[in-house]
Symmetry: C2
């Protein structure tokens, strides 16, 4: 995998890059729609292509439980299974094991947990996470990490940092001795932990950067910590990250968080917010978030989002989309999810254009000021 930085902003750490994978190129900064269990909820591959998605994310924890690695391997990997022939990134399963399942035991060996679906018992080790991700076959795979909640005590965070380093080494070793299953390269990104503690972040950075060959991620943020502390940690951490590799901020977040992080040199994002909030009837627009279930839209026949670059923004009225939510019609979920992902992907397009044109600093500051007054942005 190759990463080429095409332009750098003069006043901020923002940069434009191209990440080249066997399944296609990704322009950075990029936002990755989340395809939890092998599909971005409500969307087809055509839909994703039509809104110019360049890479999607799959969740190892979910895919391991259903359909399971035997099926994924039988299909020839996730790209063939779900007919998404562009790049895919998989997380390590760590985050979901810690946040979704019933944990039974965490040790240096790995994490014993019970499935949130049927209570069945499983053990994820760094080696097994690599093996599952080999079978899924994503272009970018993530190291198995321990991600404690955002309000954890320092001792717990420290333990997680040390353990994440040990696990990193085991992921690396396993991959060294177990070749790719399919006919393309899979690259591994380490995940920096350390919560909002600068010293622990520093330690995690120092210990993991040696394992960062093609890209690196910041984990353990947007998991319940205070917003300013999160931003502060992003700013602090990015200064130490390798400059010639893509930097991925995991699980973040609101449009304003993305802009802030890009100003600090982040290149890649993923978040369920556009699809999940969409399914709850909250639609991101350039004028703020529209809560489309609101009764006030009952007779509002103006377009759902005149500012959207997606044709549905003008095609459907607020009244109609509200009606679709009111009758629990799937098309409503589709319209909201599609418009939201289109908003996020177009935001990245606007970011890249402004970096290219040298106007990113003033443009992004003015956007952040606007968004400050918009709830949910």
């Amino acid at each position: 995998m190759e990463f080429i930085i095409e332009s750098k902003d003069k006043n901020t750490s923002g940069r434009n890059g191209i990440l080249k994978t066997k399944h296609g190129e990704i322009e950075t900064p990029t936002f990755m729609p989340v395809g939890t269990v092998g599909a971005v909820k409500t969307m087809s591959p055509d839909d994703l292509r039509s809104i110019h998605a360049q890479i999607i994310l799959g969740n190892t924890y979910h895919l391991y439980l259903r359909p399971g690695i035997e099926v994924l391997n039988g299909a020839g990997g996730l790209h063939k299974f779900n007919s998404w022939n562009k790049p895919i990134l998989t997380d390590s399963g760590g985050f979901q094991v810690f946040s979704l399942s019933k944990l039974n035991k965490i040790s240096d060996d790995g994490v014993e947990f019970q499935s949130h679906l049927d209570g069945s018992r499983h053990l994820f080790t760094p080696e097994f996470s690599m093996e599952i991700q080999r079978n899924i076959g994503a272009d970018i795979i993530m190291a198995f990490d321990e991600c404690p909640p955002g309000d954890s005590e320092r001792e717990i965070v420290k333990k997680a940092v040390l353990r994440t380093t040990k696990w990193m080494k085991r992921c690396h070793s396993w991959l060294e001795t177990n070749k790719e299953l399919y006919d393309y390269e899979q690259v591994l990104f380490p995940i920096i932990q350390g919560s909002i503690d600068h010293n622990l972040r520093r330690r995690s950075l120092e210990e993991l950067i040696p394992f960062s060959k093609c890209g690196i991620a910041l984990g353990g943020l947007a998991v319940g910590e205070e917003k300013n502390a999160m931003r502060d940690t992003i700013q602090f951490s990015t200064e130490f990250l390798p400059h010639n590799q893509p930097r991925y901020l995991m699980g973040v977040g609101k449009p304003s968080d993305l802009i802030y992080a890009i100003r600090n040199g982040i290149d890649m994002f993923d978040c369920v917010m556009p699809t999940r909030n969409g399914r709850n009837g909250n639609i991101f627009t350039e004028n703020g978030v529209l809560s489309i279930k609101n009764h006030k839209f009952k007779n509002d026949f103006s377009p759902i989002d005149e500012t959207s670059i997606h044709p549905w923004g003008k095609e459907f009225s607020k009244s109609y989309v509200r009606h679709l939510f009111n009758i629990n019609e799937i098309l409503g979920l589709r319209i909201a999810s599609t418009l939201n992902l289109s908003f996020y992907l177009n935001l990245m397009e606007r970011v890249r254009k402004n970096i290219r044109l040298g106007s990113f600093d003033s443009w992004s500051l003015s956007l952040l000021r606007e968004m400050k007054n918009m709830k949910g942005m």
Copy 2:
């Protein structure tokens, strides 16, 4: 509205026609996807256009309850509300009142019922059904009829036939004195009742044909009566129907029923079967109905339907679609609904082609023989 018969089959009563409306032309025989509450479940207008749907159906009972006639009128009619700019037909609300709601009182005046949603009380009269359908603004509207269950006693069926005639006259009168609300014509189709009783059918036909100016429908079939009796009634009734008008067989049905009815001169159909069965995981293919939830498809990576003219038939595997149903992912419902509607619409296209080419008789007989051995067809 104009109906032009383009070709007639020599050996059967099958015929090709073109029905011209202000919102576009409909090639007959045609199948109308059911858009119950203003949307064909799971589908967008683009999706419907992409599978060559030429007309969709809306349900007056559902649309009256939600979003209500005030909203539909405010939008400028259903075409503008749901962005479907091709022809629409609405039923009269009668069938749903009888089948879905709690009936309180049926009299010559009309039907008092309680909403299946919140138990609220409403009264549908022939005049009010016309008023609602005026506000919805479909190109083709249906007379308000009484539709008793298929196993009703003769006296009940007879009463329904007589009442349907009385109501027909009131629908006609109301429309004579209340002009269109929008800038296009709405034409009224009478609905013949009489269950499987030939004498009552004959009576209903004689009394209602004088009101048939642009088209006519057979109602009260596929409501629980025996299959052969249904087919027999179709054959009996079609002989009396005006030849120069489209004949619409309401709520039917299975692919083999459609072929049988077309052989007897039916031009229009609607049925929830392709979408409803699709959402239950049953996919119509040229080789029979595929129950995609079946465990045997877990590792079957062959295309979901190689015979489909829709690209998704080859794009997705049986294993993947089974997985989507297994995880309750909306894309699964979309794929099944889309492939099923595509199957029905393509079946009509094949019918029209064979009538045009003069091969309809032998082609349809051979298809009926094939379908006889396919469960659900």
